[in-house]
Subunit: 348 residues, 2 copies
């Protein structure tokens, strides 16, 4: 039997290899480069197929497939969301993803995406803040100190120059974990005992809590003029974090309106609540922040193009490194019509 | 760093391991067992989520995701269809698939599915023929001698007791390949020089040609009373094999009508062309073959539940064998909120 051809082997990046690749490049550098790659793809937003994600809901959670394509490369991500997993010591969100050539349909990369999604979510937040946050912002409040918190803090530091992080979580152990993980990062980190205390002096407020319910992490009176709100945690139907009065005052920016109206903070608002598409701000077609008193809100739910960008980035950065293994996942008979002959010869 | 937990490792079946597993069980036994597993799932058809496949079309072909779930197990298949691949020595169709637990969203099996799709397609044809073909059928004509041909022949032998296979393809080299591959199978194999010659005396006519176009492999005058037609090749918009006059005479059976009306032979017919769902015949809720002169037609396009069954079968049959490798694809921090800590510790 002949060995499989090059096309039949798909590079696979395991969790361990993803971690080694990230350290090989450097976490902050990955976040900066990812921010730029995602921004480059947002600039050519109109070249992408945009399908709403394909969700399979159950009592315990959701499994989603998120495909997109730019006509040359196709990507999809498999991702679940199971809030009760945490109680069993399992991840609430796990993910993996794939890139394929549109011209042949052959996969060219398979990779873990739990870590990669955390990185791309933080990079997307930093990209939005680069266009929307007050110039010279130095302090971010981080409300919800779960799996996403450190990535958000480092992305805001590396991309925007944030120097101070003010933490709050209903579980002080979560805050302790972030304090510990960010020691030595160069950030001034302050643990606070309330949301109200955390947002003191912050130009950017990031909310990223995990409960699958309508919650009010921020009330209207807490949000002063001029801040940028980076709302990560309200990201599926029935799950929000902000009081609707904040939305009534804010200028709201979104990834893909048909998805955000169902999954984002704005699911609380009327169907004609005005939103601005972030890609149009990046291209200069729409205004971002245009006065100092304005409250800007990035109502982030995560979109397939961000995963496409992240996968494309990993594929490029993988070249010349040892951080992958080849998977024999594509059947590759010498004569493409002779699949059965390949099987028969494997017996010998 | 701790080793990943059991849940974080996903069994992966490579092409090589799939071939070894199939030989370990025996090809014909795999086909018989798969037929029974698919039939068992068709019997509980109404328990499944049925989503039309999510297709990304391009000039060269299509990439599709086919998800389904029975409420306990979720599956999806990635599959491409690129007719021009053959000219480059690549497979027209390649596939892989995944099973996951609905309750946690964690994947439990990742496998090649190019071979597995060929096996499940043949098993589905045999299942349909078991309910629709004339009793005691001994001879099958096989028009189109590509990658699917030998699997069809062996499934019809193993499940129905077919003894004679009559082959025709516009390319005699394809026919030679099937003759060679089926020597020693116990089937009487006859190479024919026309479709007309191939169907002589056949109680079952299987059509499985590859061109992406409206073709007429069978014309009305070729099809005698009482035969069962197993139409595999007309399986996407713009691709059919049978003349519409045959459809006008036949009793037509389908997997999932909303998909077959777009992709199957019946795309040629009016929207109200009558079809019977195969699962209802299997359950005894609708009539299958009810007289000897009737022409029955299984207008097969392939459906996600068949892949679900095939994946479930492989998962069961894999237990206790060495035919898989564990992939570290799920990030598994000791504390699920401490994804960053896991990353940081991997540096040391």
């Amino acid at each position: 039997m002949l060995a499989p051809s090059e096309k039949a082997l798909v590079p696979f990046v395991s969790v361990e290899n993803m971690m080694q690749l990230v350290h090989h490049i450097g976490v902050e550098r990955v976040l900066v480069e990812l921010t730029d790659v995602i921004e480059a793809d947002f600039r050519r937003w109109e070249t992408f197929d945009k399908t709403p994600r394909v969700a399979s809901h159950s009592r315990e959670g959701v499994i989603e497939l998120m495909p997109t394509s730019d006509g040359e490369i196709y990507s999809f991500k498999y991702v679940n969301g199971h809030p009760k997993n945490m109680a069993q010591g399992l991840q609430t969100v796990t993910a993996f993803g794939l890139l394929a050539e549109v011209s042949t349909g052959y996969p060219v990369l398979l990779t873990e995406m739990t870590l990669l999604t955390a990185l791309r979510t933080a990079a997307t937040s930093a990209m939005a803040a680069r266009h929307l946050a007050p110039k010279g912002a130095k302090t971010m409040a981080m409300i919800g100190n779960g799996a996403q918190a450190e990535f958000q803090a480092l992305a805001m530091k590396a991309v925007l120059g944030i120097e101070n992080i003010r933490l709050y979580d209903i579980d002080p152990k979560a805050t302790d974990k972030v304090v510990r993980n960010l020691s030595g990062s160069g950030l001034n980190v302050t643990a606070c005992t309330s949301s109200q205390a955390a947002i003191e002096g912050a130009e950017i407020i990031t909310t990223c809590t995990a409960d699958k319910q309508y919650a009010t992490i921020l009330t209207d009176n807490m949000v002063g003029a001029g801040v940028h709100i980076n709302a990560i945690g309200g990201d599926c139907p029935g799950k929000t974090e902000l009081h609707r009065d904040i939305l009534a005052r804010a200028s709201t920016f979104v990834e893909y309106p048909p998805q955000t109206r169902v999954e984002g903070e704005i699911q609380q608002m009327e169907a004609d609540y005005p939103v601005t598409e972030l890609w149009k701000v990046i291209l200069g077609e729409e205004k971002g922040r245009h006065n100092a008193g304005q409250i800007t809100l990035f109502d982030s739910v995560g979109f397939a193009i961000e995963d496409f960008s992240a996968l494309r980035y990993i594929r490029d950065r993988l070249k010349g490194t040892p951080f992958y293994q080849d998977l024999d996942i594509i059947a590759d008979p010498d004569d493409s019509r002779d699949l059965f002959g390949m099987l028969a010869r494997a017996r010998d």
